[in-house]
């Protein structure tokens, strides 16, 4: 197992290097002089030269590349031109919100996908099967931002139960220490606070979860149907195992392998989706920060966010691969 993880890590490092290099080159591909975007409009040539020197842009490109690599390894992405603070501190501030949203959304997607998919596969052609197939097609074809807006109008606005913007009411801030509000409120034993946090989290996480669940429902359904015809399931039933046990122990577990693969592929769509959902629900996370940075042409912040998103993505893929190996004992390390 150790060797397998090491080997996967060995693949992840060059991938990250390619991304870092690509971002480095893209920054250099920006039309025009990036320094001109960072200085005031009335800057003197001397000021421009100073900023160019401070950013190291007057050095040969391979020296710049070397420094960029060293800084990236130290998670030092420079200073945001918009907020005038270090990019890494901004990221540290926004990252927990994105993680919390992503994890809760993934749990919602898994619950909807597995429960509905299993029932649809077990009771084929029943009404629940039809519901799941329509939901599946909806999840694949409906744009995430539209699902979010519909939920805002018809659930958030209509009931008034769920706030549709931000993580907390405007005047509150998280109690710390982790920045993950669910964890923090539990640590402090603040049940009322936890309720407020979950109320805010519900609609964004549901939007993201619904978008992910479409593929999972369909995949789980077909996988359950495929496995249900296998010999060991018939054997279990012939031995007189109760139906629930047959489904839970024999069918479900074996049907999970392809589902885990699809779930792994969906991690990428989870990251993409989080940028959209954060924008729709004014969720103060990495995704909405990246979009703001793009609009403000805050290149240090764009660089840092993209590299961090890529890192999250690579780590998630690594975890999925490892979990795949854990679930299927036939995979040798």
């Amino acid at each position: 197992m150790g060797w397998y993880i090491l080997r996967r890590l060995a693949i992840a490092i060059p991938t990250m290097l390619v991304i870092v290099t690509a971002v480095f080159l893209l920054v250099r591909a920006i039309p025009g002089n990036p320094v001109l975007m960072m200085v005031p409009d009335d800057a003197t040539p001397q000021q421009i030269a100073d900023v160019t020197h401070r950013l190291g842009l007057d050095q040969p490109i391979w020296v710049q590349y070397g420094k960029f690599l060293v800084n990236a390894v130290h998670l030092n992405f420079g200073e945001s031109t918009r907020y005038r603070v270090s990019v890494s501190s901004l990221i540290a501030q926004k990252l927990p919100a994105t993680i919390e949203l992503g994890v809760v959304a993934a749990v919602i997607a898994l619950v909807i996908g597995l429960v509905l998919g299993t029932l649809a596969g077990r009771f084929r052609n029943s009404w629940i099967d039809r519901v799941s197939s329509v939901l599946g097609l909806f999840g694949i074809s409906a744009p995430t931002f539209w699902i979010g807006m519909l939920l805002i109008i018809y659930v958030g606005g209509a009931t008034g139960w769920f706030p549709t913007g931000g993580r907390l009411p405007g005047d509150l801030s998280g109690p710390g220490p982790t920045g993950l509000l669910i964890v923090d409120t539990i640590i402090h034993g603040d049940i009322a606070g936890l309720g407020i946090v979950l109320q805010h989290l519900f609609l964004p996480a549901l939007t993201l979860g619904l978008a992910m669940s479409g593929m999972l429902v369909r995949m789980t359904r077909s996988s359950i149907i495929e496995v249900a015809g296998d010999d060991y399931v018939r054997t279990a039933r012939a031995k007189g195992a109760p139906e629930f046990r047959v489904l839970a122990r024999h069918t479900f577990r074996n049907a999970m392998l392809p589902v885990v693969t699809v779930f792994g592929m969906e991690v990428a769509s989870l990251l993409s989706g989080s940028m959209i959902v954060e924008t729709v629900f004014a969720w103060p996370g990495m995704g909405s920060m990246l979009i703001t940075a793009v609009t403000a042409r805050d290149y240090p912040l764009i660089q840092g966010s993209i590299l961090l998103f890529s890192l999250i993505f690579i780590v998630c893929n690594l975890l999925v691969d490892i979990s795949y190996a854990l679930i299927d004992p036939r995979i040798r390390y």
Binding site: T144, W146, I153, F313
Partner: protein, 310 residues
């Protein structure tokens, strides 16, 4: 050798397995027990209607999509109280006719979607064939690149490229080509690898056909079916991709009417004038679902594993 002698054969199941992990996903028509051609028919007709609307936009649109009439701003649909019959679906915050903007929006969606799919298809097919034929280091490099692009989050790549290269229709198409060519390349490579040692392909070579001629005349026709299926799924994804980027404000320049940017602008009025958020999402959803249905149907029709099952 005349055209009639070119042999085509059914695409193997293993190639369909590579087409898409969605292959395993049963199609909607199969689940609802509808006849197999149902999806192709309905999906095809709706898609066709969208294409006709896009082409005839200048004729069909009742108003100029750019024209602002501020005294008519935020009108509700005509059948709602306060609506104006000359603005069937109402107007936006600048008093522009929503129906006309939706009609012109279909031009961008289809233009970007189709260009991206054609570009991705050409790039993917060429790289897939070269990869299978050359093998060796070239093949392994192309394989690593496809793995990377297949897994990398689309929006992150899209935002990255758009952030650095700037917003334009051309750049969106480039982004979509970058993310969509992979599927084509993988499937074509897999199919070419199984076909290149077939007797009729080798016979063509023996008879003096150059490798380019062999490829184009004897191998390519046999890869066409999966290419068409991937193209339809890619079209759906590309249309959604353009809308997502435009929604985030990093897609098509803001003055151009697109469904994504209409939705983005409607957010401000989501509680007071919610129909603004309804229409663009609805047409986008309808087009994407139609293209997906069409693709599902085509795939089932061609998949030897599914043929005759229903």
């Amino acid at each position: 050798m005349t055209d009639t002698e070119i042999k085509t054969e059914p695409v193997t199941s293993s190639v369909w397995a590579a087409v898409d992990y969605r292959r395993k996903r049963p199609s909607l028509s199969a689940m609802l027990k509808l006849p197999g051609s149902w999806g192709i028919m309905v999906g095809g007709i709706i898609t066709l209607i969208f294409i006709i609307v896009a082409v005839l936009a200048p004729v069909l649109a009742p108003h100029d999509p750019y024209k602002q009439t501020l005294q008519h701003r935020l009108l509700p649909p005509a059948w709602v109280r306060g609506g104006d019959p000359s603005y069937l679906l109402g107007t936006d915050a600048l008093g522009r006719d929503i129906l006309s903007r939706l009609i012109y929006g279909s031009q961008i969606s289809l233009l970007v979607g189709v260009s991206a799919v054609v570009g991705a298809g050409v790039l993917g097919v060429v790289l897939g064939i070269l990869s299978a034929y050359r093998g060796g280091w070239f093949d392994s490099i192309v394989q690593r690149i496809t793995e990377f692009f297949q897994a990398f989050p689309f929006l992150l790549l899209g935002i990255t490229v758009m952030a650095f290269l700037g917003q334009s229709v051309g750049n969106i198409i480039v982004v979509l080509i970058l993310t969509r060519w992979v599927q084509f390349a993988r499937v074509v490579r897999a199919q070419v690898l199984t076909l290149r040692h077939r007797e009729y392909v080798e016979a063509a070579g023996t008879m003096g056909a150059g490798s380019l001629r062999t490829m184009v005349r004897h191998v390519l026709p046999n890869v066409l079916a999966p290419i068409i299926v991937i193209a339809t799924f890619s079209l759906a994804t590309a249309i959604l991709g353009e809308a997502s980027l435009s929604f985030l404000g990093v897609g098509v320049p803001p003055e151009v009417p697109t469904w994504g940017s209409m939705l983005s602008a409607s957010q401000q009025y989501i509680y007071t004038d919610s129909w603004l958020s309804l229409w663009p999402g609805l047409v986008l959803f309808l087009l994407v679902i139609a293209v997906n249905l069409f693709g599902d149907g085509l795939r089932d029709l061609n998949d030897p594993k599914l043929r005759g099952r229903r």
